[in-house]
């Protein structure tokens, strides 16, 4: 009966798909391709109401095979993609985007641009929310490519400008690219999301044309709009923009303070610490100490010699001046139960000494101040240092002897 036939057909379809899947997972591209040619038949009777229909399956598997098959070429791939675009209306934009991505990754920027323009002009009835977003993405990528063209023209102009020669046509063209890029880039960054690359390009355009207010507004929106994900890059871009604008230390510090609250382990925190340490205000110097202590809480900073030297310098200063020992005490209080095991174990002393002598020097200084000269880390490192007859380690030992009782005041 026809029902039975349908069932059998479904079964063999499923079996065929599972063979393809096995072949793909074992990287047997030729075998997968052979099975796929059989699977194409399933398109004929596509009654399925499943999540992913045969046409999407063919698109996905076919693409994967063409990516990896040893005998596939770009021409074939393009041809396949064009066919796939016609297979499903709902998927048209997605397939277009993927095609464009592939062209981009293969360096075929011009072809990608053509495809973007084509896809942008595509219209088919009402658009779903997803299609709407895909269309926005297509426009944004076109804007991005326009930006690259603009950038290219700009470089030509700048080079020529050095020669004292300007080309009006090139300039015109450049402004044209700017307009096209700006319109599209502006649109995408209105939608909540992570758009680092688009934001950067847009801000670059705006800055070139001197629209600093718009640029500042865009960056502020990107960093502070609560609808957007808490993206540390947004704050970094804002900070870099402010720095370029030559803003006051105060506004730079406040931008970094927010970054510190979001990501205390960010690389910029060392800059932040340096900036704060230079400050005349006591409050800021105290914040600086807190920033560097917090950074060193993170496993990623464990062997960050720069951070350790920042901490060592500041702690040493405080000890010598004998002022604000309570700052250290406050920071140390919440760490004294786990920092010794986390940073100052004998095992780490050995390893740090073997791998990075200056790191072990800075750490030994901090350990000596915080835990006293009898702590394992300091003892091991200073012993090794003196044995190796290194001058700074001998100085370190002397320094610790002079301030041997500081640790009691800190931990007491």
């Amino acid at each position: 009966s026809s029902n039975e036939h349908k069932l059998n057909f479904k079964k063999s379809k499923e079996a065929c798909l599972s063979y393809i899947q096995d072949a793909l997972l074992q990287k047997q591209w030729k075998r997968a391709a052979e099975f796929l040619t059989c699977y194409v038949e399933s398109l004929e009777k596509d009654y399925s109401r499943e999540h992913i229909g045969p046409s999407e399956i063919i698109w996905r598997i076919g693409t994967e095979i063409l990516w990896h098959h040893s005998q596939s070429c770009m021409k074939e791939f393009n041809c396949f993609m064009e066919q796939m675009k016609t297979l499903g209306v709902k998927r048209y934009l997605k397939v277009c985007l993927e095609h464009i991505f592939h062209l981009l990754c293969n360096g075929q920027i011009d072809e990608a641009y053509q495809n973007l323009s084509l896809a942008e002009s595509w219209r088919f009835g009402e658009q779903t929310a997803i299609q709407d977003k895909e269309m926005k993405l297509i426009q944004a990528y076109r804007g991005l490519l326009d930006y690259y063209s603009w950038s290219k023209q700009k470089n030509i102009l700048l080079e020529n400008g050095e020669d004292g020669f300007s080309d009006l046509a090139v300039e015109q063209e450049m402004h044209g690219y700017f307009r096209k890029a700006a319109v599209n880039l502006k649109e995408i960054i209105k939608i909540p999301g992570v758009w680092d690359i688009f934001v950067k390009c847009y801000v670059d355009l705006l800055e070139f044309y001197g629209d600093h207010n718009e640029a500042r507004q865009v960056l502020n929106e990107y960093a502070y709009n609560s609808k957007f994900p808490a993206n540390p890059n947004a704050h970094v871009y804002l900070y870099q923009f402010l720095k370029r604008q030559g803003e006051s230390k105060k506004s730079l510090i406040s931008a970094l303070k927010i970054l510190h609250d979001i990501v205390p382990s960010h690389e910029l925190m060392i800059d932040f610490n340096t900036m704060l340490q230079k400050s005349k205000k006591r409050k800021k110097r105290r914040l600086g100490l807190e920033v560097i202590f917090t950074g060193l809480d993170y496993a990623g900073w464990k062997e960050n010699a720069k951070a350790w030297s920042c901490l060592a310098r500041q702690v040493k200063q405080i000890v010598i001046s004998e002022k604000h020992l309570d700052w250290i005490k406050h920071e140390w209080n919440s760490r004294k139960d786990w920092w010794p095991a986390f940073h100052f174990s004998r095992y780490l002393a050995k390893r740090n000494w073997q791998e990075n002598k200056s790191l072990s020097y800075e750490k030994a200084l901090v350990a000596g101040i915080l835990l006293g000269k009898d702590c394992k880390y300091f003892k091991y490192v200073s012993h090794q240092g003196c044995k190796a007859q290194l001058k700074r380690f001998r100085m370190l030992k002397k320094f610790m002897n002079r301030h041997s009782l500081v640790y009691l005041r800190i931990s007491g």
Binding site: L17, Q28, K30, C105, P229, L268, D297, S345
Partner: protein, 861 residues
Amino acid sequence: PPREEGSPAPVAGWGEHGQVLEGSPGRRQVQPAFVPSRGAAGERWEAADAAAVPVLLPSAGCWFPSPTPQDIVYRSRACRKLRAGKSGATLDFAKQLGHFFVDHPEDAFGSLGRLLHKNFYLGNSKLKVTVSRNSTIRMTTLMEDIDRLEGRRGCPRQHLASRLRWFSHLCRDWLFEVPLGLLADCLHEELMQQWSSLLFDDSLTGGALAWLPLEDGGTPVGRLVHPGGQAMNHLYFQDVVLEELPRARGSPQQFELSGRVRQVAAARVDGQDFVGVRSDYHCGVWRVPGKTGAAPTPLQVIRTDMPASCLTVSPHLPGELSVCTQSGTIYLWSVETGLQQLRHDPQTMFFRDYSPWRWSDFTAHPRVLSCADRTGLQCLDARAPKRCHFDLFKVGEEAGCQQGERVVLPMYLGRAHPSQYLVTTQFSVYVLDERLPLVPVLKWAHMMKAPPLFAHLMPGKPGRNHKVLLGASRTQELLLLQYRVSFWGVSSGGSQSACQLAGTPQELHSIAGCLQHLPTQLPHRHHLLQQRLTAPAAGLAATLQEDGLHKSMLVFQLSEAGDVFCQRLTHKAAQPPAPPPRDEATTAPGSSPLFEAPDSSPQGLGTAALRYRHWLRAFSRACREPPRHTWLPSLSQRRLFTQRDLKGPAGPSSLQRQMRQRLRQTMQEGGRIQRWEPLALQPPPLPQTLEPAEGPDPLSTRLTAAWAGDWEQWWEERTSFSVAQRQRALRERRRRQKRAKGRRSLSASFTSSLTYQSELSELSDVGPQMLSPSRPPALSQEGSSPAGSPPRRSLWTSPAPEEALLSSQSLRCRGIPKERRKTLRDYLSVWAEGPPEPPEPLGSQASQLCIPSSQSQLSSA
């Protein structure tokens, strides 16, 4: 379990770049460069063998396979719907309750027995005259009554076994009611739990296998930590040498634990390994020095009231672990300072989900722990867990989750990147960065058939790919992924990393995959082997090994049966135009390169094949042991039956002897035996039918008559004939019935009276109604005379000299009292006269033969 509403699409992970990342940064560059977030070139790893190879020999003990859907569901058809989640699978409650009664009578009825203990006396001796005597029943008597009931089958006066009637009347209302309701509830609950754990068993999350690399001069050595034993409640630390195939060295360090090991977690801090072991109600931690020969030291054990669902070991601080229980509590456990409760919330975090599963792991900050349930992940600061927390991952729009998607396993990827996290769901795998929470830096649909419960990270050197292995339990799937952290962002200092999936995912051998390569087995052996090898996976571990130019990866997989299998993958240096790999043609199902002789091996077989030989031999030896689970109930029968009851007849009975002789004879003659009656019994005539047997069937005769035209006459004949025939038949049958009844009641009373004799005195307190009126009182008195009464079976075995038997002379010499001789003679004459009634009376004869009590008493009296 995570509900599987939209079943995982089998191809959702293929053919998609997802997005492009900015490649080599730099504004100066004329041509912009892009790299795909998926589809970049990956390292080539190829399996060295055709299948996974056993590392350890199977343990000697028997293995209990875990239940299959067929065990607890009505129809096997339902198991196809297993993945449909809420399918209408009907649990086979009645079968399971029946099994329970048989397998655990002590549990099913024990409590009742204890309740009734006072009123039932199980001893063999007489009841002493005590206060309790009136309220106590002697079980021996009751049992004998029940036995006797069998002998009385068909007896019209059967209901007169009043002691039983009395007993059942008293007990009928409550005997089954008391435990059954309670038991049924418990059993039903257990069945539901078993079923849901069959659909998805999250107690195994994390896996129970760990690999601890050791430092030992030149040879690469490591230590496998795995559970074993029949109940998987032994923990083994086994040293393993990594040669061509890993080989166990020495005997393992063994610890017996008080529960099934669910998870083994390990982390290395300051050159020492800390191994956390989780069973349902206990968690323990061991310290293992990173040198060979150093023995593991158990450090501490904690007990939980609710089953623990997670145990992870801190990669930052020695002796710190995090524990979660199913009540929604998360603890930071330090060996030095004890437990610190961080959170207690039976509700899930982001939306309502009924699963009590919780998970916790460490993050880049040693004081900040992640905690997870099925709906997402949060990070808590242990110093102020109530105030300081942030959401790391949420099942929802930000991560682009599907409907019904649930978190299956989170894992801290600290060894690859200090701020990255892996989260797997039943559909996808995500890499998250705690600096950019909620938005995954990598997402990929993994297309696995079962949710990945195990994951293992092998960090690559800077600039190289990190490798992640995902493992599923039920389907034993193993998937190898490669990813790399690429920097998206321009200027130094402002880089936010994004991830790139490198290469295509690669499926590795599962344990069951070796079945097709093994030599052909006998069907039942094959079945056992299949059962063993397809047991759900229970853990996953791997290690990278590098000697000179050769890099290889060893992947260990543990099954629920306690088997550890291993496979080696070798790294192939990237050759830009990849030559056609050998896998295209060779590994078709059915071929077995495993057992083919490789050219290089002088012994003829590869190491893998030899390893299999050993394993198979040990496995079949373990199988041959008598299955221990069919233990006999340890109830003593001696208290219920007398010594004489238990003593069976010595040697073959004369009937048996006779039968054997007949069989031998017939075989010599080459004839055949139609019926198994003793020779003395004439083969009974076939039961007469009411229709005449001769001629064709009535329909055809009638049709023939009708065709011939004399149908009327035929009818006349038939009616008259059949009436006469029927009358005759009825008369005959009544006569037979009468005869049978007389004989049967006689024989029944005969046996029963004989069994009564030994205990008649004890019955005196029961009351006069117990004495059956059908039983002649004379017999009861005479029966106790010890004058060697002949074995009853002699009636059957030597019936030939009937006259001799029936003569009063012979009866007397057999010790039959005078009063009974007539009855007996009547009885025997009836017996000798007509053929016994087929077939029902034959059955009753047989049952008489089988009554042990009357037989043995007769023979020994």
